[in-house]
């Protein structure tokens, strides 16, 4: 039953994306050339990576508001490592980024798991702590493009089979986490812990520990994105990706991830991110006033959430009717 709803949800969203592309193409045909669509995908890559992590966290009935701050802190740290040790190979930098991000995520996870503080409070606090830490580390200074080494900046841009490495990393992450979510014990535990925590506990799943791992994965992905972001825009500063956590949550919500936990897929999160990415990339070229741009982005989110609640409501009614008939 829920499987059926999910499938239709992703099909619906894919349809909405196609309609959106058709609308944009009617005003600016060059937008749907394969090269431009590849650009849009590459531009949306950070949002997709973060949305995957956020989806897993939301599945377990939590929320991670610290992703953008984690991204900025990790980005600043790896940028400073690069400035201090320009010879350090990029794979080591990436390992550092994932490691630091995961540690920051674990910090969130420990607080939620062991101290049982509500996740929204924990991550609101750590968001502030992370941003403050960047300020302390950098002393308010920017790390600029000429200070970063060339390999550091070149890696995500390097072309491989026609797509930049950043896009390939994102594709790999989508495939990897699709497998993890559907084929591993941990992946199923995320659904169980969020779908029905009491039942999950009886089934031998430690809900707190599952939430801890969700935060760790979200943190690791934010760390990886931190490196990609700093490398792509060739600059690191305190306000990097300011407010981006809201885009990430919006991508998940549009992608059909239930904010109450237990429902959501990697593909949905990716489609939700792509939907926002396409709007973000199309608005500058279709010549719409910047004041309307904000309103349009906001309207898209509200419509998606409205569809979500609508879908959930009808589902609930049908179950009740069946229950009535049965009794």
């Amino acid at each position: 039953m829920s499987r059926h709803v999910l499938m239709s949800r992703e099909v619906l969203l894919s349809g909405a994306i196609l309609v959106l592309l058709a609308l944009i193409a009617s005003r600016f045909p060059a937008f749907i050339t394969p090269a431009n669509l590849a650009n849009v995908f590459n531009d949306t890559a950070p949002l997709i990576l973060l949305a995957i992590g956020q989806m897993i966290v939301i599945l377990t009935r939590c929320i991670d508001l610290s992703v953008a701050a984690n991204l900025a802190l990790t980005g600043m740290v790896v940028a400073m490592i690069n400035v201090a040790l320009p010879g350090l190979p990029v794979p080591v930098i990436i390992a550092c980024a994932i490691g630091i991000g995961a540690l920051l995520g674990m910090f969130n996870g420990i607080l939620v798991w062991k101290l049982e503080i509500p996740p929204i409070v924990v991550t609101l606090g750590t968001m502030t702590i992370f941003r403050g830490t960047i300020f302390l580390l950098s002393d308010g200074q920017w790390v600029n493009s000429h200070e970063l080494s060339d390999p550091f900046k070149a890696f995500p841009r390097a072309e491989f089979l026609g797509l930049p490495v950043m896009s390939w990393i994102t594709i790999a992450a989508v495939l990897f986490f699709s497998l993890v979510m559907s084929r591993t014990t941990l992946g199923r535990a995320f659904y169980a812990a969020g779908g029905n925590p009491h039942a999950a506990t009886y089934a031998g799943i430690d809900v707190g520990k599952t939430q801890f791992w969700a935060f760790t994965i979200s943190g690791a992905l934010a760390g990886l994105t931190g490196y990609l972001w700093v490398s792509r825009f060739a600059v690191a500063f305190v306000d990097l990706a300011g407010g981006f956590e809201l885009n990430v949550v919006a991508a998940c919500v549009i992608g059909g991830v239930a904010i109450m936990g237990g429902i959501g897929t990697v593909a949905g999160a990716m489609l939700g991110a792509l939907f926002l990415g396409i709007i973000g990339n199309a608005l500058p070229v279709v010549d719409i006033s910047p004041f309307w741009q904000l309103a349009i982005s906001g309207a898209a989110i509200i419509i998606a959430v409205a569809l979500n609640t609508q879908a959930n409501r009808t589902k609930g009614r049908i179950i009740l009717k069946r229950a009535e008939h049965a009794s």
Partner: protein, 333 residues
């Protein structure tokens, strides 16, 4: 939510710091608060350095460098309220919004605090005087000239601004549009807004390149925007075809000038600006000068300024940086 917790934290810390400060220091120290658009921006860090220089020169002056962590008017209002509570002697502010911060600043003036604005102005009722880094007309003319200098046959240029409501960026762009007749053959094809976010500015720059294939220059009168546009032009492989210019800091722009994406750019010296703002705040707060139309206010090594009818004044001309001098200034700010 983020903003609120953040600024109240900052405000709390600065309040605590000032309490410790007052007990430790002599009571007759004049305290001048330098309120900036957001902390962690190189330009304002340099301005704070200039203000410290003025404080050292004057003696008996303590500079409180503060501001919100993101460029919002609400954040600045909270900072102003905490400064009023601390009872500082003067507030020198670069405003995120000319009107939104005015009521809070009026309250400050009612409490006897000297209020001036610098860099980005406050509505007339919300401050005693405003110090422009340069005149709006000069800056508008300069940024357009920077682009036109490298376009002998004329062509299309576009603006990449900060937010659609930013006070100074939009005044400069309006001035540039007015100066357009002085540059025959130059067309302004679009003005887009990157909100001072790297990713949005980058996307807007990409959009400009896609929408206007004949574009020859992107003029970004904002530090985040000019860097993002420079990166977007480099990534698109269009260095040499599109010149990214506008206002930026030498330390941040060194890479762009080196890669050739930027031929030249301009900025006034933020150290001088912070220095002058602190000097003026001191002169007004100590009663050495009064802020009224026609008044002449001294500002140390920068000479003096004369206020016009709207009690505003211009410090100096913007300075142009290119490959020949950017490296020398990159170490300074």
């Amino acid at each position: 939510m983020k903003r609120r917790t953040f600024t109240s934290l900052v405000a709390g810390m600065s309040l605590a710091a000032s309490m410790m400060g007052t007990s430790a220091m002599a009571q007759d120290n004049m305290r001048i608060a330098l309120v900036v658009k957001a902390l962690g921006i190189g330009f304002f860090e340099a301005a704070a350095e200039g203000a410290e220089e003025a404080a050292a020169e004057l003696g008996n002056v303590e500079i409180i460098y503060t501001g919100p962590t993101d460029t919002t008017a609400e954040g600045q209002i909270e900072v102003i309220n905490s400064l009023i509570a601390q009872g500082v002697d003067a507030i020198a502010i670069s405003a995120n919004d000319p009107d939104a911060v005015a009521p809070a600043l009026q309250r400050a003036m009612q409490r006897g605090i000297t209020v001036i604005s610098w860099d980005s102005g406050v509505a007339e009722e919300g401050r005693m005087m405003h110090l422009n880094p340069s005149s709006t007309e000069l800056i508008g003319n300069t940024i357009l000239r920077l682009a036109a200098d490298h376009m002998p046959d004329g062509g299309d240029v576009a603006f990449l601004s900060a937010s659609a409501t930013a006070t100074n960026q939009n005044a400069w762009i309006a001035a540039a549009e007015e100066a357009l007749p002085n540059f025959p053959g130059i067309n302004i094809v679009a003005t887009v807004y990157g909100d001072d976010l790297s990713d949005k500015s980058y996307r807007e720059a990409q959009g400009l390149m896609a929408s206007y294939p004949d574009l020859q220059a992107i003029i970004a009168p904002t530090t985040v925007g000019i860097l993002a546009a420079c990166q977007a032009v480099s990534d698109a492989g269009r260095i040499g075809e599109i010149n990214v210019t506008g206002l930026g800091l030498p330390s941040e722009m060194a890479g762009c000038v080196e890669s050739g994406a930027t031929r030249s750019f301009a900025i006034w010296n933020p150290i001088d600006l912070g220095y002058s703002a602190a000097m003026i705040a001191h002169a007004l707060a100590s009663g050495e000068a009064t802020a009224e139309p026609g008044a002449e206010i001294p500002m140390g090594r920068m000479g003096s300024v004369t206020l016009d009818d709207a009690t505003t004044a211009a410090m100096s001309d913007p300075f142009t940086y290119d490959a020949s001098n950017v490296a020398d200034f990159a170490d300074i700010f």
